[in-house]
């Protein structure tokens, strides 16, 4: 690319929100550059690990069961956030989510009906054919066809902002720092989940034991710059979405395949061999996201899922083999735990299990009684060898801290004024809508809706 050009719209980031903004601005006739900090293979940040997009729809889409009414969507959002959402922005996200299927189709994104394991989302979520990377490939092809300049390995290292007005970005590319000037900025470059040092500000040394589900490039550099330049923050900086995943997962970018759904079928113990939470509190899809935090709070940020042969085939197959043994003591030894402690925990648990009819598809009546930490459902004695164990760690998906935006997706300054020419979209502003919790596919909804809004706004700004 020619770094001496002045672009109408500079997009920092290269995921769903960034591309939706870039395509929208390019369709409005603007000259757009996309600055993706990652190499080409890792382009797209967390989008490359996504799979679907939640959208309100009237039920006529061939790949979806339906309809999914906006009012129902709003209810779902209020429920998971406990009301921690900007209602005006939430309303926009949901209303405009109705446009997303036809719009994505126009950009060449293909969808598929859900198959095994995801049928429960068939009404609310549109599944990308081939997953998030397939969707990104389509968006990049479209952006390039529209003349958008896409630069990889282009990490923004500084922002030149004057009184809330974007002037230029410093970009490190090919080992050299260059200035990219533009008439408007769209910040769509995610959170800071891969920035362990930043996570340590809130989590201390424990953050060293976190596994990051997305790429190592989600370092939140632009988020930090914007906040340092006097932009209004939104969202709890200490919070992140964390699930339980196999401790053998790669430190970064293990994505979806490393998750483990065995928790509800057995017991979870810490490294001292003790249980620490009700494994059967609620159905797994509703509860899986609390286990990352729970494990993060255990010593060494590690826990072990212990099951027996009755349960080993009841959950999605794991990509790492279970540690297998013919007795609990042997299993504990193989997991490098104290056999006596684990044997006692299992014996106490087994003694507390009350008779019931096991049914993992509903909240069944298999529960323990008399334990300080009960297991409310699916409690079966762990007694049929071979026994299996999986080591588990917290897997960080995203962070909630972001920048405050208004209904045009325009960034608000600390004093409440809207910025003259800066917009934000995607995870960097998702905290406006999603103050806490998560709803499958809503990250992509927010990215696409506010990406398009930001693209529209930036295109208008650049014309003035």
């Amino acid at each position: 690319m020619d770094f001496n050009d002045v672009f109408d719209v500079v997009v920092a980031g290269g995921g769903n929100a960034a591309l939706c903004a870039a395509i929208t601005a390019a369709r409005a006739g603007r000259k757009v550059v996309v600055l993706e900090g990652a190499p080409k293979f890792y382009r797209g940040g967390n989008t490359r690990h996504t799979r679907n997009l939640r959208c309100a729809h009237d039920g006529t889409a061939p790949t979806m069961a339906g309809p999914y009414d906006p009012a129902e969507f709003i209810d779902d959002l209020y429920r998971v956030t406990g009301g921690q959402t900007d209602k005006a922005l939430a309303q926009i996200a949901i209303e405009r989510s109705r446009e997303l299927l036809p719009w994505m189709d126009q950009q060449g994104v293909k969808f598929q009906p859900p198959l095994g394991g995801t049928l429960s989302l068939g009404k609310t979520n549109a599944f990308f054919l081939g997953g998030g990377r397939g969707m990104l490939n389509a968006l990049y092809r479209q952006a390039e066809a529209l003349g958008v300049t896409c630069v990889y390995d282009a990490m923004v290292t500084a922002l030149n902002i004057e009184d809330g007005f974007f002037v230029s970005a410093t970009v490190k590319h090919d080992g050299v720092e260059k200035q990219v000037r533009g008439k408007a900025l769209v910040a769509a470059c995610g959170g800071f989940e891969a920035n362990i040092e930043w996570l340590k500000e809130y989590w201390g040394e424990a953050a060293d034991n976190f596994i990051i589900r997305g790429t190592p490039y989600n370092r939140g550099a632009v988020l930090r710059m914007l906040l340092d330049k006097g932009v209004m923050p939104v969202g709890d900086p200490t919070q992140c979405h964390a699930i339980a995943l196999d401790a053998r997962a790669p430190k970064f970018d293990g994505g979806i395949a490393t998750r483990l759904d065995s928790v509800v079928f057995g017991i979870m113990i810490d490294r001292n061999g003790n249980r620490f939470y009700d494994e059967g509190e609620d159905v797994w899809p509703k509860r899986y996201a609390i286990w990352g935090r729970l494990i993060a709070q255990q010593p060494g940020q590690i826990a072990y899922s212990i099951i027996d042969s009755q349960s080993v085939s009841l959950f999605m197959p794991s990509i790492y083999p279970a540690v297998e043994a013919s007795s609990i003591g042997e299993l504990a030894a193989k997991l490098e735990l104290d056999p006596a402690a684990v044997e006692k925990t299992v014996a106490d648990f087994n003694a507390a299990v009350r008779p019931g009819s096991f049914d993992h598809t509903v909240l069944d009546d298999c529960a323990t009684s008399g334990l300080a930490i009960p297991k409310s459902h699916w409690a079966r004695k762990i007694e049929k060898p071979p026994y299996y164990g999986f080591p588990m760690r917290p897997g960080i998906t995203f962070t909630y801290l972001g920048v405050k935006v208004n209904e045009e997706s325009r960034i608000l300054l600390a004093d409440g004024r809207p910025s003259g020419n800066m917009f934000a979209a995607g995870e960097i502003m998702a905290g406006n809508v999603l103050g806490k919790g998560y709803l499958a596919g809503i990250g992509m909804t927010i990215g696409a809706v506010f990406g398009r809004l930001a693209g529209e706004g930036a295109a208008k700004n650049a014309a003035n």
Partner: protein, 371 residues
């Protein structure tokens, strides 16, 4: 043949590793039949992997859509790994087992087979007839060089051998993937036939092949259609001519406006365009997607089909000239080589894949997706 005692190959070990990762992800389940079939399993034995690999049409969509493809440390490369497993499976089930080795050096094998066949015809014409007859004018009458019955007998014997060898290979494959002697039902066979006829799964779930470039393209599917239907038209031409000969006593050469010649021309054009297109596309494919050491097998089959057609056209156009004798020897030699190599070359891919599709259409009716 003791299939169960074989040492697991590196390709099968890698395929097992990859399927275990893919089964924990499943984002590709809408692309083709491989991934839904995978989801019906939790573990992957050799026969499962041979089945899954033969369901794969190597379109490349799962590679470009995969967040774990190289340089990711999971190094997921289904198209290349399954190509290796597939190519090994042809050797594994080959009948007789002693011929399994020809799949490893298939380009050389088929080149030699074709050359020897051509040489045999030339020598045969010279030895059995007057050497001058090879260069004489015969008014387009092939049977002056080789009597019809001799020609028909030779090709019938070779063709029947090819069918028998293919049938025995496929029986071994089917028994292995279906787990003993399993029946196929009519519905599954019908659906598999439709899937094969449309090349339903050579399109990445609708986008086309992403193997030549990042932009999905329908070209491979189109050229494959030219090849397949070209072959079928030529086969129909031969069958019709046989019926003419024996049932009606109408003997070749047939005029231009006749069933066998018209079918042959249409088929012949398909066999020029299709294999040439596939040959060119194979050169533009991302090399990371293919089983490089065995590319010769693809090339040899493309060349044999192309040459069958090319020599056929040359013979038709020049049959009234003194070149006919030599051209006839070359054409019959190429066709003989093609027939002999049917059970021992790329031709088998279509039949293995077809059986895999029959199994897939059968098992998906009672599908239990493992969760």
């Amino acid at each position: 043949m003791q299939l169960t005692n074989m040492v697991r190959s590196a390709a099968l070990i890698e395929a097992d590793r990859l399927m275990t990762i893919c089964n924990g992800c499943r984002y590709c389940e809408g692309l083709c039949a491989v991934f839904p079939a995978m989801e019906m399993r939790r573990t992957f034995a050799d026969n499962d992997l041979n089945y899954l690999a033969n369901l794969c049409h190597q379109c490349g969509a799962c590679y470009s859509d995969c967040q774990y493809s190289p340089p990711h440390e999971f190094n997921v490369n289904i198209p290349a790994t399954f190509a290796k497993v597939r190519n090994e499976s042809y050797a594994r089930y080959a009948w007789p087992g002693a011929f399994a080795g020809v799949f490893a050096r298939n380009g050389l094998f088929i080149t030699l087979l074709a050359a020897l066949s051509v040489a045999a015809f030339i020598a045969g014409f010279v030895a059995l007839k007057d050497p001058a007859a090879l260069y004489g004018r015969h008014g387009g009458d092939f049977y002056k060089l080789m009597p019809h019955n001799a020609m028909a007998t030779l090709f019938s014997v070779v063709f029947l051998y090819a069918i028998a060898a293919l049938a025995l290979s496929l029986r071994g494959f089917w028994r292995d993937i279906a787990g003993g002697v399993a029946s196929a039902d009519v519905g599954a066979v019908g659906q598999a036939t439709g899937d094969a006829a449309h090349l339903k799964y050579l399109g990445g779930g609708g986008g086309g092949c992403t193997s030549e470039s990042e932009k999905p393209s329908a070209l491979r599917r189109i050229f494959h259609h030219f090849t397949f239907y070209g072959f079928m038209f030529c086969f129909a031409a031969t069958c019709l001519a046989t019926v003419y000969h024996y049932a009606f006593g109408w003997h070749a050469p047939y005029p231009l406006i006749s069933g066998p010649v018209l079918l042959g021309i249409i088929g012949g054009l398909g066999l020029l365009i299709g294999p040439a297109g596939l040959f060119v596309l194979a050169r533009t494919r991302d090399p990371i997607l293919v089983d490089k050491p065995r590319l010769g097998m693809d090339t040899a089959f493309q060349a044999m089909l192309f040459l069958t057609s090319l020599t056929g056209f040359a013979l038709m156009l020049l049959r009234d000239t003194p070149a006919m004798g030599l051209l006839l020897a070359v054409h019959l030699g190429v066709v003989l080589g093609l027939f002999l190599s049917l059970p021992y070359g790329k031709f088998v891919h279509g039949l293995y894949r077809y059986l895999a599709l029959v199994k897939y259409n059968k098992e998906r009716k009672t599908a239990i997706f493992v969760e």
